[in-house]
């Protein structure tokens, strides 16, 4: 975006870059620490005896003969068949993102283009819906879901996650659609398009940055959800997060924290690919020409 005249002065550039470096350390350090620690044994990872054990891997070396071990990964992926949970998670994520963006885009677009008072109240009601703590919602679902025999399966969880996330999706897309000038679809309608055709041919091509950003959040919600997935999925259909929680153990029984750590680290790899892929869509500014606020 910066023309030669727009180039920031050196001091500002240094300050900006310095700030980004500090932020990246803050953001990534716990993760990198976890990544490093995932190749250690539990005692080194938590390093209760001496924090430098996490760096040197003293106990890991005593047990495995080397300061790094793949025991956590092997346990999670081979022994516990974590890949099943990965597949479940991606099924859930894919359908949640697809469904919530489809119905959310339609709804959000309608909200942004209708000037009646009920639009405002619909938005407010959606917001109030979102205020409901998910744990209470989930506790309420249990009995009817068992009665209807739909408890424990992936489609139920997908629909629930879509519904719980709709208020957020609607609000976010509503904000983005408002930034797309009304004149675009109105001129299409003047040319004889129906509202849906105007939406399909004029709005859809320019809405992607907003939709992709919203989709990213839908994805992260489905990916990270614990409250819904832990209560509504049976053991054999578990997604990654409840499985990771199960690795951690309970009062009664020994967990295996290193399985959980290895699972967390390996589960982040596909996200890396995903973000690297979509950042180009976000960054390239597909709509920079078309959208003027």
């Amino acid at each position: 975006m910066a023309s030669e005249a727009q180039r920031p002065p050196l001091s500002l550039r240094l300050a900006t870059n310095g700030f980004i470096v500090v932020w990246l350390i803050l953001a990534a350090f716990p993760f990198l620490w976890t990544f490093w620690g995932s190749f250690k044994v539990e005692l080194d990872f938590f390093s209760i005896a001496d924090w430098t054990n996490a760096l040197t891997g003293t106990n890991t070396r005593e047990t495995h003969g080397s300061a790094f071990t793949l025991a956590g990964y092997e346990g999670a992926w081979v022994q516990e068949e974590f890949w099943r949970n990965v597949i479940n998670t991606f099924i859930v994520c894919f359908f949640v993102v697809l469904t919530s963006l489809t119905i959310g885009t339609l709804g959000g677009y309608a909200l942004s283009r209708s000037g009646f008072k009920y639009v405002f109240w619909l938005l407010i009601i959606a917001l109030i819906f979102r205020a409901m703590p998910p744990i209470t919602l989930v506790a309420g679902y249990m009995l009817p879901f068992f009665e209807w025999n739909i408890w424990g399966i992936l489609p139920t969880t997908i629909i629930v996650l879509v519904a719980i996330n709709q208020p957020f999706t609607l609000w976010m897309l509503h904000s983005f659609f408002q930034n797309i000038p009304k004149e675009l679809d109105e001129s299409a309608k003047v040319d004889g398009c129906t509202q849906f055709q105007a939406f399909r041919h004029v709005i859809v091509p320019v809405m992607w940055p907003g939709v992709i950003t919203t989709g990213l959040f839908s994805f992260l919600l489905a990916y990270n959800d614990f409250a819904v997935t832990s209560m509504l999925l049976s053991e054999s259909n578990r997604t990654m997060v409840p499985e990771i929680a199960a690795f951690l153990g309970t009062t009664y029984t020994e967990g295996n924290v290193m399985f959980a750590v290895a699972a967390v680290v390996s589960a982040t790899a596909p996200l890396f690919v995903l973000v690297m892929f979509f950042q180009r869509q976000i960054v390239s500014g597909l709509t920079a020409g078309a959208v003027k606020g």
């Binding site: 409901m132 703590p133 208020p167 950003t213 750590v261 606020g293």
Partner: protein
């Protein structure tokens, strides 16, 4: 847009919300004013692997009739909202009469579960929300000045706090800030106090949770603002430059007004999410120091005996709390909305 067209566009999302959110909210409202029937007890002999004891149990035959007569339970009106686990009006009055100073009264109040939770929840909400918005905005502005090649990498790493599952993210940080963990050791070194323990002190625990809250939510604000920056009208920036606006003035008078709807949006979402703070309290095992309304619900539903009515009442109060909290933002939205039409 015509009412009819609007209806069809809105139907799928509306239906999903009515079925899976509105209906449960109605049932929660009903649940919060009904309580289980009074139990009829009998004393019986219970035997097991470790011998026999006389214990009380519920006389199912006697309770059965009551249940069939009133399947919803007994109607208790607002009793549950007013009992000690919630608004605790009687206990509050008692505390007011018995304490001789305002400080004493507040100390007694903090001892009641609802007010103790509110003290932390409100502090958390009002400290976290503005700070994370500011941080997110600064990151978005800074990242926007980077070259294309660096952006993707920086975005990915900036998203990490949000991507790493909160359950595990808070667990990892919990161990890092342990007095023998890497951050705990570092902080103890900075403070010059080798016995410094973040987890043993209430104020330090609050600060840790708040910092975690900002850390884990700033990426959300960052991504929203960053996407907003991509639609920034170049002509306005250029016009401002021609007018000789400084960099700060461009941000202040062009960028921020452009992002304002998104700021409102982030503020709405984050106020609400922070008011419902839950995961860090569980992840940090912090319930001795800090609780929240969501934590109380979790606790009511998680015991050996589930207190459904108490959880329902707390949920309704959470919704009301969020509505009160958001009202200024909502009034603003209403003005914007009326201004537009």
């Amino acid at each position: 847009m015509k009412h009819r067209t609007f209806f069809w566009f809105f139907l799928p999302t509306g239906l999903a919300m009515v079925l899976f959110i509105a209906a449960p909210i109605v049932s929660v409202l009903i649940q919060s004013v009904f309580a289980p029937h009074e139990a009829v007890f009998v004393t019986v002999e219970n035997c097991g692997p470790f011998g026999c004891v006389q214990e009380t149990t519920i006389d199912q035959a006697a309770t059965q009739e009551l249940r069939e007569a009133q399947p919803l339970g007994r109607f208790v009106g607002l009793d549950i909202y007013l009992d000690r686990g919630h608004l605790a009006l009687a206990e509050m009055g008692e505390a007011w009469r018995s304490s001789d100073s305002l400080g004493g009264f507040f100390a007694e109040l903090r001892d009641l579960p609802f007010y103790g939770a509110m003290a932390f929840t409100l502090t958390y909400t009002f400290v976290c929300t503005p700070l994370l918005i500011a941080l997110g905005l600064v990151i978005a502005l800074a990242v926007n000045t980077l070259t294309q090649r660096l952006k993707g990498l920086v975005i990915f790493f900036s998203l990490l706090p949000m991507i790493v599952t909160p359950l595990v993210g808070s667990l990892i940080l919990f161990w890092m800030i342990d007095s023998r963990g890497v951050l705990g050791t570092f902080l103890a070194y900075l403070a010059g106090d080798p016995d410094l323990s973040l987890k043993a002190s209430t104020p330090l625990m609050w600060i840790s949770i708040i910092i975690y809250g900002i850390w884990s939510s700033a990426p959300f604000a960052f991504v929203v603002f960053y996407a907003g920056l991509q639609t920034l009208p170049q002509d306005q920036i250029e016009a401002a430059q021609i007018d000789g606006a400084t960099r700060w003035q461009q941000v202040r008078f062009v960028v921020i007004p452009h992002l304002m709807p998104l700021v409102t949006f982030v503020a709405l979402i984050q106020l609400m999410d922070n008011f419902r703070v839950f995961e860090p309290i569980v992840g940090f095992n912090a319930s001795a120091h800090a609780t929240s309304l969501s934590w109380i619900i979790f606790n009511d539903l998680g015991g050996e005996t589930r207190q459904l009515s108490a959880a329902a009442a707390t949920s309704v109060m959470t919704i009301i709390g969020v509505a009160i909290l958001l009202s200024p933002v909502l009034v603003r939205t209403w003005r914007d909305f009326r201004g537009k039409t």
